[in-house]
Each structure stands twice: as structure tokens, then as C-alpha cells.
Subunit: 289 residues, 2 copies
């Protein structure tokens, strides 16, 4: 990527985390806060997830001994759904992410459980922000940090952490063309309902929660947003395999796709790209490499 | 693997190194020693390699600005051969590893270049031994270290480093059934010529250099040797992909195969398994996952 882009490009590997995505950071932070706040009365948890947050929260809830229900799109990768089941959470299939989020919030509204949004939750965002703090520690001279964007939790956390520390690094969000609620919302000046197209990046697919706290954080703290195509995503997954011997899912490779798809200024800059997740079904990976 | 084996199993990831195997350690160490020793008269280098040592030495030679010729089996993975060429070394194809080693040594005997054996070389072995030192630092309570064995450079380096430090960890070498010169040599009490069968583990295939210094090191310092089958290797590559989201070549996964193939005592033990390389052709990986 450095050769291709004329910059110095580094990958921040969240693909080697427990449950193989950055989501474990926010999930553990949110569950720890709940355990501290409910010392006498154990909480029940509910969430919606395209898959990675569900896996991470299942892992965290299992450690804490808390029951968890996860609403997921039935189209989520088998690997993600199987892990959630194996970790002991209740899995409820939905038509798509939007339905999953809506049903999970209804479930919580009845008072039966605490909703842990995969992105619109202060503890989840703060956990994700540790990615930004680690990048600053590992490469204080970084000029830009490139981050895949679904609901914007990772981007918000990194933006808050980096800008809050006073560092000058540019914060860049990457959406997929087929599902870009931030692009469309920022253009409109408010969260708007979008038509979600088909994308290999299952983890980035869906509308924003109309109440999400990430929209305002992104609007005020993020320096640049860009879009990548499905073609860019496929090339990025293959490139990460062939050139780095790493596994990335499409959502996880969106930042790489922005670099190799030439959608960002890179020449002479030090750029940290978050490789955010590795949960790709083996047949999909096999077809791309 | 911990669940399967009843032990605490940790992977030492050499698959994320530059050129994607542990070989970079020995190659850099050997080249650094040559550069220090030839301040006025630049050396020419020659080696034989199943592929990974050739890539690593090409990388090291390029950094040092030294010309390098690499003799490789024509059956070596395309990915390995292409990288050697791309890094600027001269590549000479041979029928198999034994022919490559023999021709590289002849090349050096003419005085035209210095032969850097992939395993029978003190600086290469010392470099590989840093894997053992790091394992002891990272997990001082380790009970056993499991190491893939081709020419025995990695195993020798780790054994010297660990036993030399006075640590009690058991050192275990893993050969493949199709090519096990140490198993047959240790049984015979001396290096013997073996028939090399077909194996997915291209990196472990071939006879020992009759003069290799690794045989005596292994005989005196290694606690246990075991064998894995081709079936074990295939399962190990798939298991590493599905359960760890990591890429391993067959030689690199031999230690994992020894654990999951149940060829070693594991119950209640802390075991470090060296995942030694990731240079597998994409079509081979795709067929296994």
C-alpha cells in the first residue's frame, strides 16, 4: 500500500482480537460498566448487530455471566451467527439490520433488558476510542487515521480520543457506496432514511438509528468522509491476503479499499488504516483470493 | 486448541513477520555478520531454499545491497518464487530441494559466493533462536515449545536458546511423515539418506545436508520428536483459519497439527506452538478452508 499510494501506510490490526474485530473493546467496556452499576441485581442484555458486535458482546456477557439476546439479520455470515450461538447468547434472526435494531429496541423498551447499541452508546464508543489512543502511542507522527464506518461507533470513538488528546491527525471515515447514511445525512444536514443496496460489507450495511449520538460526533469532529465501491472492497480483501497474509472481511477492509482505490490524499503522508474485522465466511474468501 | 487438548495452548506468530516466516530472523543476523566482516570487499551470497529462507535472505540482502543467488525447487509455491524475484535475487529452479542444496554448495565451492545455508549456519540458527527467547519472556511458565522441523535450524536455535538459559521447558520437534530425516537419523544414530515422499509441507521436504550442524544439536538438546500426517496438516491449516483467522502454510502449521492430531502430551500443560510461516498459494488455501 505504501508503494501504491506514495505514502507510509500502516495497518492497525483489530483482526487478531478476541472475536476477531475491534468490537470487543466497546463490548467489554459496556459490560464492565453494567456489572459495576448492578452489583445486586444482575442485568439482562439485548442488542442488535450485523454480527461482530453480537459476537463481542456474547463474549463479554459470557465472562460477566449476564444473559444476552442478539437480533441479527438472517443474511449475516454463518461464521458470525454460529459464534454468537456457541458463546451462549440467544440469537433472533431478522430480515435486515434495520429490522434487527428496531426489534431489539422494542425488546428493551418493555423493561426486560438493557439495550447495548453497537454504536450509539457512550461506553461502546469509549471502548472503540482506545484504537485511536493506541495508534497515537504507536505512531505519534501519524498524519491521518482511516476508519471503516457503519453506525459510526469506531469512527466516533477514535475522533473523540484523538481530537481530545489535541493531536493534529486527520480523521477519515470510509463508507460503502451501497450504504452511506453518513454521506447522505451530512449532505442533508440531518440523519435521513436511505435505501440500502447490496454490499459485500455486511458489517457496514443499514440505516442509522434516528437517535444515534454518533451523527453529531462525526459531523463535528471528523475531517473527511469518503466512499468505496464493491470492486474496491473485493480488491482490498485480495490485496490484504496476498500482500500481508492477513484475513479481512469486507467491512474490515474498507479503509484499505479507500487507499488502494485512490479516494484519499496519501502522497508523503503517514497513514494508519484500521483493519477492523476478519469475520468473513471461508467460501467468500476462497472466491476472492 | 486449548479446549481440544485440555492444555493451555498459545501460538507464537511468525506468520506476520516481514516475508511472512521466522526465516527473517536468521537471514538478517547472517547478513549483518557478513556486512560487519566484509567492510571493504562486498560479499556475493548464494543459498538453497524451499522458499521461505530464500525470500527472507532476498529481503536481507537487498537491505544490505548484496547480490544473491537462490537455488529453489521448481515445485516451490509460486508466491515464494515470485517474492524472491521481486526482491531482486537471481532465482535458479531445480528438480527438488536436495538438488537445490547440492548446486548451491557447488556454486559456493568455486569461491564465487558465500553459501548461507537455510539451517546449518551458526548465525541463521542464532537468529532463529530469538523465537525461543521471546517465548520465555512472553510466557515464563511455559511447559513445552512445539516447533516445525525441516533442516532443524529453528528447532536448534530454540533448543540452544532455551536450554542455554536454564529454562526447564520441553523442546519438541515436529516432522511430517513424508519427509522425516531427523526421525530416521536419530533412530539410526547418524544422518541417513531418506526417500522423500510428497507432502503439502513444501517447506519441510528434503534430505539433511550430510554436514549439517543441526543434527547433533537436535540429538543432544531436543526432548521429543513427533510426526504428523498430511491429513493432520490439512486439518491444521483449516483449523487455524476458522478458529484463529490466521493464515498458515502447511510447514507453518505442523506444530498445530501435532496438537490437534493428538501426538503429544498436552493435558494441564502450558504449550507454545510456533506458527512458523504463512506462504501458502491462494488456490491451495482456498481448497482447504
Amino acid at each position: 500500500m505504501s508503494t501504491l499510494s506514495g505514502g507510509d501506510v500502516f495497518l492497525k490490526l483489530e483482526t487478531l482480537q478476541p472475536t476477531f474485530s475491534f468490537k470487543i473493546r466497546g463490548a467489554l467496556n459496556a459490560v464492565a460498566a453494567i456489572v459495576e452499576g448492578h452489583a445486586r441485581q444482575p442485568a439482562r442484555l439485548v442488542t442488535a448487530s450485523a454480527g461482530n458486535h453480537g459476537q463481542a458482546l456474547s463474549h463479554a456477557a459470557r465472562i460477566a455471566g449476564l444473559p444476552l439476546t442478539v437480533y441479527v439479520p438472517e443474511t449475516a455470515p454463518r461464521a458470525k451467527q454460529e459464534t454468537i450461538r456457541r458463546l451462549g447468547a440467544e440469537l433472533i434472526g431478522c430480515a435486515d439490520y434495520d429490522e434487527a435494531e428496531s426489534r431489539a429496541k422494542q425488546h428493551a423498551a418493555s423493561g426486560a433488558a438493557t439495550f447495548i447499541s453497537p454504536y450509539s452508546h457512550p461506553d461502546v464508543i469509549a471502548g472503540a476510542g482506545t484504537v485511536g489512543l493506541e495508534i497515537l502511542q504507536q505512531d505519534p507522527g501519524v498524519d491521518a487515521i482511516v476508519v471503516p464506518v457503519g453506525g459510526g461507533g469506531l469512527l466516533s470513538g477514535i475522533a473523540v480520543a484523538v481530537k481530545g488528546s489535541g493531536h493534529r491527525a486527520e480523521i477519515v471515515g470510509v463508507e460503502v457506496e451501497a450504504s452511506c447514511p453518513f454521506r447522505q445525512g451530512l449532505d442533508a444536514g440531518r440523519i435521513v432514511h436511505i435505501e440500502v443496496g447490496r454490499t459485500l460489507a455486511d458489517g457496514l450495511s443499514g440505516n442509522l438509528d434516528p437517535d444515534t449520538i454518533t451523527f453529531e460526533i462525526v459531523r463535528t469532529l471528523v475531517d473527511r468522509m469518503t466512499l468505496v465501491t464493491e470492486h474496491h472492497l473485493r480488491d482490498a480483501i485480495a490485496g490484504v491476503f496476498h500482500n500481508e497474509r492477513l484475513i479481512a472481511e469486507a467491512a474490515g477492509a474498507a479503509g484499505v479499499a479507500a487507499i488502494t482505490g485512490n479516494t484519499l490524499p496519501t502522497k508523503g503522508r503517514r497513514i494508519a488504516v484500521v483493519l477492523s474485522g476478519a469475520n468473513i465466511d471461508s467460501d467468500v474468501l476462497a472466491s476472492l483470493i
